[in-house]
């Protein structure tokens, strides 16, 4: 008979022992396992073009325009419908992508290596806020920015990262949580720390001062600069605890804008999915819930690893998104202790007497308490080409945990 407690303890221990470090960068085609010319990766569980949400379709169109495989959005759409391209979840290729999470073959990716267990994960570069491809926008300014990032920023960052000997993401996150970040929706402090660590090496390795100026400015002004490597880092942690026989710990939560999916450590690579919920959000001027696409993105890997919405108590400024008081941030974290297996050894919460963040979602506890994980997230417009319309909080659908529990019971004979 399996020992669930022991298996869960082992899985979560591996989450916490993992030490992800961004070591370098490389073209997706060169570094991402299984990547090929006609493969487009996306956020969340598997999805077909027919069922694909607006922002993800927009992103796919943007990717073909960026890759130079299509000259116009119309041509891109025709190609995408044609079956010429394969769509596959980032999570099937060691990747994570925020929002639509589209990664195409020639995009440069961060390489994040877990120094404890040796596994690697990848993520693309962050474009900043506003009209961005990850939110489904594909206008020429969006594509132009991507080209600048690819041709100017990526090579310099790669050299700078290598010169710096890598950046320890776990250490940056641990510090940022003490500076008011949650590690998902609010990464202001972490992005500044990241920029501050890289800036001297950017200055040293950039081909000229103008390039250094542009890159440091771009990184410094983007409060989400570090989001993508953080996500890859979180995935190295949860991957380290994946495939532990008999464990009920969730190792992936991800959404593709149509479905919300999870994977469970003791249930291999099976996805459990349900319709992605709408986000309870505050909207940018001129937008309402009517405009919002359902929940989308791989960024819930942060909550899966024990930060983000679960560490809300470290980021009281975020509660304004849910229209609440700082007390609500504390309560969100306290709630998440009820459905998690452990308290994080590395990530702590000053306000709660440096208690570790709630870590390792236990499917059993989610069902028992009837309390789904809560996630902080951005909201994309439901139509392709528009972009972000707001930000807020969302609860994972209970069905995915119910299905996982039933599958677990069948698999292990309960």
């Amino acid at each position: 008979m399996i020992d669930i407690e022991k298996a869960n303890a082992q899985a979560v221990e591996r989450f916490m022992e993992a030490r992800p470090v961004v070591t370098g960068m490389g073209k997706a085609l060169d570094v991402v396992p299984g990547m090929h010319e006609n493969l487009l990766l996306h956020a969340g569980p598997p999805i077909t073009w027919d069922r694909m949400a607006g922002p993800m379709r927009g992103s796919m169109i943007g990717a073909l325009l960026f890759e130079g495989r299509a000259k116009s959005p119309e041509e891109a759409e025709t190609l995408l419908k044609s079956g010429k391209f394969e769509f596959s979840p980032c999570h099937h290729h060691g990747c994570t992508g925020p929002m639509a999470g589209v990664i195409s073959p020639s995009m440069t990716c961060y390489i994040v290596e877990n120094k404890t267990h040796g596994n690697k994960c990848f993520s693309n570069l962050n474009e900043g806020r506003g009209k961005v491809m990850r939110m489904g926008a594909y206008s020429s300014e969006v594509i132009d920015k991507l080209h600048w990032m690819e041709s100017v920023m990526a090579p310099t960052l790669k050299n700078a990262l290598e010169a710096a000997g890598g950046i320890d993401i776990r250490a940056v996150l641990a510090k940022a949580l003490h500076m008011g970040d949650d590690g998902h929706n609010r990464l202001d402090a972490a992005s500044v720390l990241y920029t501050a660590q890289l800036a001297p090496y950017i200055a040293k390795t950039a081909r000229d001062t103008q390039t250094a100026f542009e890159i440091i400015k771009f990184l410094g002004e983007n409060a989400l600069s570090i989001l993508n490597p953080v996500m890859a880092a979180c995935k190295t942690m949860t991957d380290a605890g994946h495939n532990i026989e008999g464990s009920t710990i969730v190792t992936v939560m991800a959404r593709n804008g149509t479905d919300f999916g999870i994977r469970v450590s003791g249930l291999g690579d099976q996805w459990f999915t349900a319709p992605a919920p709408k986000v309870k959000a505050l909207y940018f001027p001129g937008f309402t819930e009517e405009d919002a696409n359902p929940d989308i993105g791989d960024s819930t890997i942060t909550e899966t690893a024990g930060i983000g919405g679960f560490a809300m108590a470290t980021a009281p400024a975020l509660v304004t998104f849910i229209g609440g008081a700082p007390k609500d941030a504390i309560n969100t974290t306290l709630d998440m202790y009820e459905i998690t297996y452990a308290e994080h050894k590395q990530f702590t919460i000053p306000f709660l007497d440096f208690r570790g963040t709630p870590t390792g979602i236990d499917v059993r506890k989610v069902i028992e308490k009837n309390l789904p994980p809560r996630v902080n997230t951005g909201v994309a417009h439901k139509n392709p080409g528009v972009g972000q319309v707001g930000a807020g909080v969302v609860s994972a659908p209970m069905k995915v945990f119910e299905d996982a529990l039933v599958a677990f019971a069948e698999r292990y004979g309960f």
């Binding site: 909207y283 001027p285 001129g286 229209g323 069902i367 028992e368 009837n370 529990l405 309960f414």
Partner: protein, 577 residues
């Protein structure tokens, strides 16, 4: 006519989320069609342009300017909205200082580690599961929920007994612990009386009357209506009685219940007799055979129970305990009573009283025909022989005048190794033997001596009926018997009850191995200031907080949303663990 109004504030910073919130609040004000609140960056100004909220002021705004634009139905509503900006920016949500409500007893227990009690008032089908969790965490349970199957009740109470915890209920409405009322309870002053009650209103009536009579209570422990049933076997009642027995502050105990199962009632009374303090018993509709029996005081109703308890608390009676019986004098196997009476009515009364102490009393002239001795000449088990009956007086004087037959029978009984107590009645006065003690006392001394030689102690007891003006010298008769080693009293009842206590104690000594198992309830958990966890009716938590008892209310939901299949899986996983 729709009017757009703009306000620009330079050099102020607000979190973007705060601005979105302000925008939403402004848009929801009366007469406002749309609102925009942004920092004046180019991309933000574009957003405002999309929704036609652009004014010259907006176009001129710089990136670090706070831009507030509203479009009102008319000038007045637009201005009114802008005047609210400061108020909205500083507004606080109501319920700001409301405590965190955990979702499980476990999380609540971490928040309030000093809590010893969990109040459960969730729907019956979930109640046992919640109560089990409370027990697992080492808490006493006040189980208000009804519709809990009796099998679950038994299971919970067995578990509680093993752990030294109380499960009050199910369907327990009232309890009062250390002056704090749980569930439905009155404000009753603290005092020397402890109450155990099966049902809630009984507890309320008795404790309220105790208060009205000027006294007060230590603890009022509810057990639930089914506790005294045959199936449940008074598990909680007995635990409660035990903990109040051990509580030095409880001077008097009151037991009250609806009609209990007779066997279970006996069990409860057996334990109550060992309390070493007065116990007032009011089992509604149970026929009274006596008003008092040692430390047990039988009340005729709830009010009488309260009155008796207050009287006993105010005028504590001297308690005899089994120490005074000196059971160690008796040899193993000595357990039976033999009454050798000359008076028929005295023999009758002896049968009636002894029936409260021992299961069966045989007699040659029985009250109940079932217990007629097979042979008046040969005693069996507990026997009461009226030697004034016809079978003994044929051709012979009545034993009030002739002691010979009784003395012979005394020696026979004394030789029986199972006999512990022999009772004689000595009736003097006109017409009786002129000096019965002169013959009986030497025989008593001889009987005791014979038993002693055989390694036994024989307790000979005697009632002397007469007055100091009788010709036989009442006091002299008593003196003679006492000197011979007999235990003597002028009251038949007193002598029989003394015998009863002895016999019961001897019987208990033989069966002392069948004590109920489990761990005693830790008295300190009742004595320390009450702190509780509440699952179910929120008003129960509010009532406790109103009594200044620290309480955490759990935001409880049915496990798995009440989905049976998932609940069963979780149960199976727990069992395996």
């Amino acid at each position: 006519m729709a009017t757009i109004k703009t306000e620009i504030r330079s050099g102020v910073y607000y979190d973007s989320a705060k601005l979105m919130q302000l925008q939403r609040s402004l848009a929801s004000l009366p007469g406002i069609q749309d609102a925009g609140v942004i920092m004046g960056t180019e991309s933000n100004k574009e957003l405002l342009a999309h929704i036609n909220l652009v004014t010259p002021e907006v176009e001129n705004a710089k990136p670090d300017d706070l831009v507030i634009v509203v479009r009102g139905e008319d000038e007045k509503s637009a201005s009114a909205a802008l005047s609210k900006v400061d108020e909205l920016l500083t507004a606080r949500k109501s319920g700001h200082d409301q405590e965190y409500q955990p979702h499980s007893i476990e999380a609540a227990a971490e928040m309030l580690p000093e809590s010893s009690w969990v109040l459960v008032s969730v729907a019956g089908r979930y109640a046992a599961g919640v109560a089990r969790e409370a027990l697992r965490l080492g808490k006493h349970v006040f189980l208000f929920s009804d519709n809990v199957p009796v099998e679950e009740e038994i299971n919970l109470k067995q578990k509680a007994r093993e752990l030294g915890l109380l499960v009050m209920g199910p369907d327990c409405g009232t309890a009062m612990i250390g002056g704090i009322g749980l569930g439905f309870a009155n404000k009753v002053r603290n005092g020397p009386i402890g109450v155990v009650a099966a049902a809630g209103t009984g507890l309320q009536q008795v404790t309220a009357r105790i208060h009205q009579l000027g006294s007060g209570i230590t603890h009022g422990i509810g057990t639930g209506g089914r506790d005294l049933s045959e199936k449940v076997g008074a598990m909680t009642f007995l635990q409660a009685l035990d903990v109040l027995t051990r509580d030095p502050d409880t001077k008097v105990i009151v037991l009250t219940s609806k009609p209990p199962s007779p066997r279970v009632a006996e069990e409860v009374l057996k334990t109550a007799r060992k309390a070493g303090k007065p116990v007032v018993v009011n089992f509604i509709a149970r026929a009274l055979t006596t008003l008092q029996e040692d430390n047990l005081y039988f009340a005729t109703g709830l009010d009488d129970a309260a009155r008796l308890a207050v009287d006993l608390a105010n005028n504590p009676p001297k308690m005899d305990d089994n120490q005074n019986l000196r059971l160690d004098r008796f040899a193993p196997g000595q357990k039976y009573f033999r009454g050798l009476f000359s008076g028929g009515t005295l023999a009758y009364e002896a049968q009636h009283i002894l029936a409260n102490y021992v299961p069966k009393v045989w007699a040659n002239a029985p009250i109940n025909k079932e217990y007629k001795m097979a042979n008046s000449m040969v005693s069996q088990e507990h026997s009461i022989v009226d030697l004034g009956e016809d079978e003994f007086t044929v051709g012979r004087l009545h034993p009030m005048m002739d002691n010979e037959l009784r003395i012979r029978r005394l020696f026979e009984e004394a030789a029986d190794p199972e006999v512990a107590v022999i009772m004689l009645d000595v009736v003097i006065g006109y017409g009786s033997h002129p000096n019965p003690a002169s013959e009986l006392a030497p025989a008593v001394a001889k009987a005791i001596e014979t038993a002693k030689k055989a390694g036994r102690h024989l307790e000979v007891i005697a009632v002397v009926t007469g007055t100091d003006e009788d010709p036989q010298d009442f006091n002299g008769q008593i003196e003679l018997l006492k000197n011979a080693g007999a235990w003597v009293d002028p009251s038949n009842e007193v002598v029989v009850r003394y015998a009863g206590r002895l016999l019961r104690a001897l019987a208990d000594r033989e069966s002392s191995t069948e004590e109920p198992g489990g761990k005693p309830v830790d008295l300190t958990t009742l004595k320390k200031p009450l702190a509780a966890i509440n699952v179910g009716l929120e008003s129960f938590a509010e009532n406790l907080i109103a009594q200044a008892a620290p309480t955490i209310h759990v935001d409880w939901k049915p496990p798995a949303g009440g989905n049976e299949r998932l609940m069963n899986i979780l149960e199976r996983m727990k069992k395996q663990a």
